[in-house]
């Protein structure tokens, strides 16, 4: 199972170093610089990486970050301060990283819908291969925050190796954040061959929706026009926090069991957010009338609280210490 939970822990600088660690039988570790030679001068904020391996062909790997279609610096002068045109997207498609040799070499192909001139190529982006074959590769699903409007787009491509814009499948708006994408293919039974797609995300932060832990589900994602259904995972009060945390991460088994872990926020004071770590489960692909309610906790709410009341520092903390000329800030927990 892929762990998307680590994505936010990486810093931009780590990704600028762009290292991918491959463990082959754990006999040795290979460190690969994913940034191809022809982009070695890039100075972009190439942050929050995500990676997925084709389950049918481990040589094929796709990876993503906030990657511009230019180098974010002056021609021939790496490292100089960016100016207006260098911050903007040059074209209307942002790249993903593509490897066809198990991660030894990488290319950038432009397939993520963006906007020419946008100051970011994309917001949060995660991607995942299903097991559905498409020619000599497999179908790839991607969840993004589209630049510059930051709506959530769910995308699909039949061939991640091409510089062709991915197909838009679903859009969600109004303070949405952190799409975490997972997919698989039903192996047997009446739905055999159908792609199941799960995009956990924060649906309505900053007061839009006080119970914002949500998953967007398509039970036949590789169909021409797949239907998506939203399931609000949170049923408990989020108190003064007024919303849930951001990481809503699904994990799907091919037997139809789907887990989602999320941060249920319970209150806010002193710059910290009182948080439960909640695990929800569905035993039939999230397809029933009351999906993700298979686990019920002692308070009769769906979702087991595996951790309760932990305080996470979040947001903008400004100690009221008199006499300080500059306020101090604690960068919010990125969970």
């Amino acid at each position: 199972m892929r762990s998307t939970g680590t994505r936010a822990a990486w810093t931009p600088k780590v990704f600028l170093a762009a290292s991918l660690i491959l463990c082959t039988g754990c006999h040795h570790v290979r460190v690969v610089n994913m940034v191809p030679r022809t982009r070695s001068g890039e100075t972009c904020q190439d942050s929050e990486p995500s990676i997925t391996v084709n389950p049918e062909n481990h040589e094929q790997i796709a990876a993503s970050a906030f990657t511009w279609d230019n180098l974010c610096n002056a021609p021939g002068s790496p490292g100089v301060p960016a100016n207006w045109w260098q911050l903007g997207m040059t074209g209307s498609s942002a790249p993903i990283y593509v490897s066809l040799d198990g991660g030894k070499k990488w290319h950038l192909r432009k397939s993520v819908p963006s906007t020419a001139g946008a100051t970011t190529p994309t917001g949060d982006i995660t991607l995942f291969f299903s097991r559905t074959r498409a020619g000599s590769t497999n179908v790839l699903y991607t969840g993004i925050l589209h630049a510059p409007d930051y709506s959530m787009n769910v995308l699909r491509t039949q061939d991640f190796r091409l510089s062709t814009p991915m197909t838009l499948l679903d859009t969600r708006t109004n303070n949405v954040d952190q799409p975490h994408t997972q997919a698989t293919t039903v192996p047997q039974g009446p739905d055999a061959g159908k792609d199941r797609l799960y995009v956990g995300f924060n649906n309505g932060f900053s007061g839009v929706n006080p119970q914002s832990a949500t998953v967007d589900v398509a039970l036949d994602a590789d169909s021409a026009t797949p239907a998506f259904n939203l399931t609000q995972l949170e049923t408990r009060s989020t108190g003064a926090a007024g919303q849930d945390g951001f990481a809503n991460v699904p994990a799907v088994s091919r037997d139809g069991t789907v887990y989602i872990v999320y941060y249920g926020w319970r209150g806010f004071s002193g710059g910290g957010v009182s948080t439960d770590v909640v695990v929800a489960r569905d035993d039939n692909w999230g397809s029933g009338a009351t999906p993700f309610t298979a686990l019920v906790d002692s308070d009769a709410h769906p979702g087991i609280r595996v951790v309760q009341g932990v305080v996470l520092p979040f947001g903008y903390v400004r100690p009221g210490t008199a006499g300080r000329q500059q306020p101090q800030y604690r960068r919010g927990s990125r969970e």
Partner: protein
């Protein structure tokens, strides 16, 4: 020849001269116009020599009748998409198969398609290298790029409700001392700057000082927005913003163009007077 016929002849001659002068002046203008159109569509313009057809330097891009390996000679225009590729062989994905021949030298208008060990670019157009070579062309392209930049700034100037020249006298978190309730990791972390007004270039400013709200966050969504510091001087292009979701109300400067250095005052002033 009668005087009348002489008059007609003189008029005809004068008219012909005017027409032919006009045509002579129009040719370069047309060429510039075409060049401008191509430059606007291209992020990488270079001169190069076709080395091989039906070939590729990038494994991800299959060799076909539409691909050619081209040795880059000189860069004419680079919108920040490559570092030094002069002298390197790259793959050009041609607009039309068979449109170039091995050994042919040309000016290629392109966009980058694939980054890898080598580079693949998609052709927008190609043409014979003009007299004066890449150097002369670079001057023309620089003018076009400057014009495009001006258009972007002009648009932002037109959108601004208030434009002032001034100096930041203080910068601090917006919204007093209260802590924010939780929001998003993309929270702008609003700050406000007091700007002492030196001159008003557009709109009506408060008598002495204007408050500018700006995102202090370096999150990917906001890191391109201007960040103001005490003592900073410049031109501020201000936009009245009221956004409940972003929890902001007042004059903001969100675009990287919304701050210009003080030495651009005359230029901004001219743009405020330009017809939209």
């Amino acid at each position: 020849m009668t005087p009348f016929r002489l008059l007609i002849l003189l008029l005809f001659t004068a008219l012909s001269a005017c027409t032919s002068n006009g045509a002579a002046a129009g040719a370069p203008q047309e060429a510039t116009s075409k060049t401008e159109e191509l430059v606007r569509q291209s992020s990488l313009v270079f001169t190069g020599t076709v080395k091989k057809l039906n070939a590729t330097t990038v494994p991800m891009v299959s060799a076909s009748q539409s691909t050619a390996i081209v040795r880059v000679e000189e860069i004419v225009h680079n919108a920040g998409v490559v570092t030094d590729i002069a002298g390197k062989e790259i793959t050009v994905e041609l607009l039309a198969p068979g449109s170039v021949k091995p050994g042919e030298r040309a000016m290629f208008y392109t966009n980058v398609d694939t980054y890898g060990e080598s580079l693949a670019v998609t052709e927008v157009s190609h043409e014979a290298i003009p007299s004066g070579g890449a150097a002369a062309m670079r001057t023309r392209v620089a003018e076009i790029v400057e014009r495009v930049a001006d258009e972007k700034l002009q648009k932002r100037v037109a959108q601004a409700e208030l434009i002032v020249a001034g100096r930041v006298t203080a910068a601090r978190p917006y919204g007093g001392s209260a802590q924010h309730a939780p929001g998003s990791e993309h929270d702008p972390e609003w700050w406000e700057a007091n700007v002492k007004v030196e001159s008003v270039e557009k709109g009506q400013a408060p008598p002495a000082e204007v408050v500018v709200i700006f995102p202090h966050s370096n999150d990917v969504r906001w890191f391109g927005s201007p960040k103001f510091k005490e003592g900073q001087e410049g031109i501020f292009l201000l936009h009245r913003t009221k956004d409940e979701q972003l929890r902001v109300s007042g004059f903001t400067a969100l675009d990287s163009l919304d701050y210009q250095p003080m030495d651009q005052r005359e230029h901004v002033r001219k743009l405020t007077q330009k017809p939209r």
